[in-house]
Assembly symmetry: C2
Homo-oligomer: 159 residues x 2
DNA sequence: GTCGATCATGCATGAAACGTGCATAATCTA
DNA sequence: TAGATTATGCACGTTTCATGCATGATCGAC
């Protein structure tokens, strides 16, 4: 874990909210010069702290009316099955995230699709049709209270 | 839902992967001029299709060793309780996402914390300590197979 | 099909932003 | 304290952005 000072944390906070801030805008938020912000941003990128920048897209404007979380249990716990399931997940762009979890179900995946019909199709033709998958439990998102996945940053005091 | 042509979809795909691509780089990927990419990107932003750009940060480099999904059931279904729960969620930067779901549990929240101890603290002192919360089920992420939340884009044919 | 209106596009270009050399200040270590 | 190292802001050449303009493409009415 690399050492991050207060300036770094503030840069991260700013860029986590708006990844396209100019160096000058960062400078105003962080109270360093634009060139120093540029250097530090680059260092954070090179160190892998900032992995990448992404455009956050509004799924509804794309016609994606249904987001759901699906719990998946594999038929047999083996490295082979896990790898095959992993490949299925990687191939489906409907799958936004996928995590292996502790507990009775093996994986939790988050998917986004056009409507309930395509959701059912996805579950039946992609998940349940796959021989590694034994059991599936689905829950539809009816409301999103918080999104974006911004990580907590230690309360910085730098300045 | 606004009309997106093949060029728009390709721009979105490119920017969903790298939100800091220059207009020239976009031009090369999409086969339009840089100025047209600039205009279309602006239009997508103004239309709200692109909501924002975010830096994606590596939580582990921040010392966040535990990601977990927590199912939360409220003690009583009322608008008052829902609003109060919503406020709690909004106030905690450990909470990355929160969704109200169909099914037996009311909410699914995703959190990131330093370690298991801080996870237990969060559950006990934030969630369970809150009078609106009746029941909590937690599952720790042991591996992430896919992340970033990139939305599926219709296969575009523009060009 | 023709014509005029409208929209999309690339080119050109002035303004804005970037990134880095350099000199200086700040910090660290013996 | 002194020297070495690191962080910083300034200056500036290069890159990028955004927009006016002319032109091409598309649309709709006749």
């Amino acid at each position: 874990m690399i050492a991050l000072d207060g300036y770094d944390l503030r840069l991260l906070a700013a860029l986590q909210t708006d990844g396209r801030l100019t160096n000058q805008e960062l400078a105003e938020r962080v109270h360093l010069s634009a060139s120093q912000c540029s250097r530090r941003r680059q260092a954070l990128e090179e160190a892998g702290v900032i992995r990448r920048y992404r455009a956050e897209i509004d799924g509804e404007r794309l016609g994606l009316g249904v987001t759901a979380f699906v719990n998946v249990q594999l038929s047999r716990h083996s490295e082979h099955n896990a790898r095959r399931f992993r490949d299925v997940i990687a191939d489906c762009d409907e799958v936004l995230e996928a995590h292996a979890l502790t507990g009775d179900m093996d994986y939790l995946i988050k998917i986004a699709v056009r409507d309930l019909k395509s959701f059912a199709d996805f579950v039946n033709t992609v998940l349940l049709a796959h021989e590694t998958v034994a059991h599936v439990t689905s829950r539809i998102v009816i409301e999103t209270l918080k999104s974006g996945g911004a990580l907590p940053l230690r309360a910085g005091s730098g300045g």
